[in-house]
Subunit: 243 residues, 2 copies
DNA sequence: CGATAGTTTGATCTTCGTCAATGGGGGTGG
DNA sequence: CCACCCCCATTGACGAAGATCAAACTATCG
């Protein structure tokens, strides 16, 4: 999912075209024809959220579909001890809100912008209208809900792992898959999350993350560059930690 | 989901009718008319699995839909340290296999009978045929996949809880919801799982489960009756532990 | 260049896992 | 009908690993 639209020029274009690009970007609408795409686009309202701003809160009435157009959004709940448990990191092309469209009336989690984020919003009614006109979208929703199930199952798998090092390895590997930039022998990883968020993802404290990343660096598996960049030096060794 | 068909008489009927009852029992097929129901029934193959028998294995080719007709089935994976991580407990009326029907070719988890189990099996091809004839089933699949997502999200929530007592409380509460029999002031809970399985569900050891259940008993919150029965004495206190 | 939020490091405490021994209940065979 | 056995659960002692609290450090941005 390497963002064309995250370049500034294109995001300019996005504004001009009133969200058309974001509709094409979302896999849900990829199959639509030009005219239908226009119908979707006309119903979309674009919004910008700046870094750390909340997109919605747990308990909010769920009456919209949110399509991520640019940036990243973290979806999380608070657990018993008041810490965030991150469930998903959504990027460009992903969408959320669907679950509640057919069933729930309240959102079951919080959504917060990680970057500066541009989101296309579609009301529940409009969305259902679109589905009626294009029933094949329902199948795509099903598809994407399976993707979500898979993500959750592997998160469960990871959380059930006692060994914290294995959990971190798993987290890094999944980030590499999503956001990694392969070099000649190394892989550059621009972390979308702070240490604290990393910790919240795999259910440990930020101190533990620090220590474990430190020891992975000592072992020569990776190199930490500032707070937001990690260079993976030995992918195989990292995979070994996870398996 | 209180089982009519788990009574012996009815399960006799099930055999005679060649699976018709199991088709009606499954929410997927509830909307079907008599004639369509018959079409489904004719394609179903019933199988019995005895306690602890495996229904399928992770990595098996996924070419069937499994509808639970009687009994309970646990769905699990093995994690890095070789222990089971239980993902779902399926009972009568639930089904599994759907996820792989449209996408994967390999099952991503193991299924094992907890009780003596009766399962109706439907091939992938037959199922797709049925969906074509009854498109409204697709929507039900979507619905049930949302249910699954909810289950997983709350499992994640629970696993991310450091406090083991809270995790156990959460597990008990979810069992109460599914299998609890309310009395006058107490709630009787017939556990579907062994101590070891309970432990595998929330990612701790069986010894820890024993100790924590013991201390909940000491606090007067519940009473242990043998290995498979728990009487909940103070539901509010239990909920307090979870919140 | 300085302020500040985020990160790392250290020392101590708590909790759960591990290993080993004991206990009990249900089913089977005498 | 009882005794025995086996499986499962419980209990105890100990150690390891991560949480917590506190302090030092550093990246980043104005």
């Amino acid at each position: 999912m390497n963002s064309i639209c995250s370049q500034s020029t294109d995001s300019e274009a996005c504004k001009r075209c009133k969200g058309r690009y974001c509709a094409t970007k979302v896999s849900l609408f990829k199959s639509l024809e030009e005219s239908q795409l226009k119908a979707v686009t006309d119903r979309i309202v674009q919004k910008n959220y700046e870094k750390n701003q909340m997109v919605f809160f747990e308990g909010d009435k769920s009456d919209k579909l949110y399509l991520i157009n640019r940036g990243k959004v973290k979806i999380f709940k608070y657990n018993r001890d008041g810490k965030e448990q991150i469930l998903y990191i959504l990027s460009e092309g992903d969408f959320i809100g669907d679950i509640s469209l057919f069933k729930q009336v309240e959102l079951r989690f919080n959504a917060q912008a990680i970057d500066d984020v541009n989101i296309c919003e579609l009301t529940k009614d409009d969305f259902e209208e679109i589905i009626k006109e294009n029933p094949e979208i329902a199948l795509k929703i099903l598809q994407s809900s399976y993707d979500r199930i898979e993500k959750l199952e592997s998160l469960v798998q990871s959380l059930s792992n006692k060994d914290v090092e294995a959990r971190i390895a798993g987290l890094l590997l999944s980030f590499i898959k999503d956001f990694g930039v392969p070099g000649e022998s190394e892989i550059l990883l621009n972390l979308p999350l702070s240490r604290e968020d990393l910790a919240n993802y795999i259910g440990v404290t930020r101190e533990t993350i620090s220590r474990k990343l430190g020891s992975l660096q000592d072992e020569g598996i990776l190199r930490l560059e500032g707070n937001k960049r990690i260079v993976i030096l030995d992918l195989e060794a990292l995979e070994e930690k996870y398996i």
